[in-house]
């Protein structure tokens, strides 16, 4: 027996269950939040508050829906990047969890041998797809984070860089593979990769949530497993809609209009930072002066 095998055997139970757990918390939980945020590029259209502070003429020009979509998404992204405390710690936790889950996942997946050719049951297909989606999913995640978060622009067809202050427009550029937001052949491939990646990961999470309930012994009877299956399927359908919605939202957003709105928001933000200081400093100084005089 080799050393790593004996390590795996010694901590067999703990590792298996941590593998199951990390898939739900934090990874699955993050996925829900991430897709909800990103789909704001669609549901932002009905977010009336997003356009309140904007120049009405600009909103008129690009359309209230587009302004709401880009505005809401930008607001979310700015919030995450500027106001979430310990963002780096959250990121490290996520990375460690993903690394742990995928490395062990590959190790475990290799213990099985798919046999859907002979036993074409739906459950067997899901078993096989769970493993395939894990492989595809991890490749997609690495590409996704490397290009957009670590700035490996050489992996982006147009060589553009994603900028959180121009979240929608630079994302559209990265997806379509050009600075103008026009489609390129490689851009189509990248977009298809995103479609595949999102689909696989959402399936992986929904199906994994279903099997986790069996693994931990939460759903025992066939009926309970079926019931929980409906819940997982509904959650999966919802996340799939959010994921696809987000992708198509970014693919079909007007890049120039998005840029205009992002710039407007940046202007408003820098103004916001100056104004409160200006307002609060003056009375304070006056107050001090009054105190000294007295």
């Amino acid at each position: 027996m080799t050393n790593d095998q004996s390590f795996m055997n010694k901590h067999h139970f703990l590792l298996r269950r941590l593998h199951s757990l990390t898939g739900i918390v934090p990874i699955g939980l993050f996925l829900i939040g991430h897709l909800t945020t990103n789909s704001s590029i669609i549901w932002g259209a009905i977010n009336g508050r997003a356009t309140h502070a904007m120049d009405p003429e600009l909103v008129e020009g690009v359309g209230k829906a587009t302004a709401g979509q880009v505005g809401t998404f930008q607001h979310e992204v700015t919030f995450i990047n500027e106001s979430v405390p310990f963002l780096i710690l959250i990121e490290i936790t996520l990375w460690l969890s993903i690394a742990f889950h995928s490395i062990l996942g590959i190790y475990y997946a290799r213990t099985g041998k798919a046999n859907t050719k002979r036993y074409e049951y739906q459950g067997n297909w899901r078993y096989t797809l769970q493993r395939i989606s894990g492989y595809v999913g991890i490749l997609f995640i690495v590409y996704h984070v490397a290009t957009l978060r670590w700035g490996w622009t050489w992996l982006i067809p147009g060589g553009t860089k994603w900028d959180y202050e121009y979240a929608s427009s630079t994302l559209a550029m990265a997806l379509k593979g050009s600075e103008t937001g026009d489609w390129t052949f490689l851009g189509v491939l990248v977009s298809l990769l995103y479609l595949l990646g999102v689909t696989m990961l959402v399936f992986h999470f929904a199906n994994g949530l279903w099997t986790a309930a069996i693994t931990w012994g939460v759903t025992i009877t066939a009926k309970a497993q079926r019931n929980w299956g409906y819940v997982c399927a509904a959650l999966g359908a919802g996340l799939m809609a959010a994921g696809w919605g987000a992708l198509f939202g970014f693919l079909f957003v007007d890049v120039q209009a998005a840029k205009d709105i992002e710039e407007e928001m940046l202007r408003k933000k820098s103004a916001d930072i100056v104004e409160p200081e200006a307002v609060s400093m003056i009375p304070a100084t006056e107050h001090t002066l009054v105190a000294i005089e007295a």
Binding site: H12, R17, N115, Q130, I214, T215
Partner: protein, 291 residues
């Protein structure tokens, strides 16, 4: 011949009764293709034989695959006229309760004794293929060595401890509900169908690796069966320890093939989930009690 009430869903794939005179009830000649070997991986070859089936009027009941193998043994000449040897296979009860005749028929695992030729080869010239199970070492032809399964049953102590230095008296009472659940679990015949169809159960020839190889659905279900028994439950802890370890319950990948192919329709996936819960609680208790 065996009159069996065949209700496994495996037969349905090739089922299809022809309405011509040579149909399921008519006299006909069918072909049987068999994957043979002298021992595991040695001289593996396919041989095809012809089997003559008398018409329904001339025979007593249905004809099963074992009867075909018997006919081949009486005159082992292949379709191309070469003289061969009788095909080796295991069988015992001939009524689907011992599990020994399990093999892969037309690509799916099942018992040969309950596999009726009228369902699988209703027409003249129809073909039936027989292969040994792929997850166990082949002893010869269709006969495989299932000792890994029996060793795994021993590893979860699949029995009720009744030996002692004094009379243990009558067993404890059981509710009808429990009795119903346990009865179903008790019908397992260790046939190996659930293991053959399981993607997580892979061939292991090295006996020293049996301990850390997946025990499979049947064994998990038997552990549940004996844990549910009041006297059997005295060894609950040992069973759960084995199932929590390498090769235990966590090796299951939840494809649920096992429950689909079990000829006894044992609710294997419920057993897996129930033992999943027991093992989880067992480990949590152990963590906090330190024992």
């Amino acid at each position: 011949m065996i009159q069996s009430n065949d209700d496994t869903d495996l037969a349905t794939d090739t089922r299809g009764h022809a309405a011509n005179g040579k149909g399921p009830s008519g006299a006909r000649t069918i072909r049987v293709r068999i994957k043979r070997a002298d021992s595991h991986g040695k001289n593996v070859r396919w041989e095809e034989f012809k089997v003559d089936l008398p018409s329904a009027g001339e025979r007593d009941g249905a004809i099963n695959v074992i009867a075909c193998l018997q006919q081949i043994a009486s005159n082992p000449v292949t379709v191309d006229g070469t003289r061969s040897t009788p095909v080796t296979y295991e069988s015992g009860c001939l009524e689907e309760v011992c599990g020994s005749c399990t093999m892969v028929i037309n690509g799916k695992v099942r018992q040969a004794c309950s596999c009726l030729v009228d369902d699988y080869a209703p027409n003249d010239g129809d073909l039936i293929t027989l292969e040994p199970m792929s997850k166990f070492p082949v002893v010869r032809d269709l006969w495989v060595d299932r000792s890994r399964l029996f060793k795994a049953l021993a590893s979860v102590k699949a029995w009720v401890p009744i030996d002692g230095t004094y009379d243990l008296g009558e067993g404890p009472e059981e509710t009808p509900d429990e009795q119903q659940t346990r009865y179903k679990l008790s019908t397992c015949m260790s046939c190996g169908c659930c293991l053959e169809a399981c993607p997580q159960y892979t061939l292991e020839e090295d006996e020293s690796k049996f301990d850390e190889s997946f025990v499979g659905a049947a064994v998990i279900s038997q552990a549940r069966y004996f844990n549910m028994h009041e006297t059997g439950a005295t060894m609950k802890k040992q069973r759960l320890d084995t199932l929590a370890g390498p090769g235990g319950i966590n090796n299951c990948g939840n494809s649920q093939n096992c429950v689909k192919v079990c000829p006894k329709e044992i609710p294997l996936t419920e057993s897996i989930a129930a033992m999943g819960r027991s093992v989880t609680l067992h480990r949590i208790k152990e963590f906090f009690s330190g024992r």
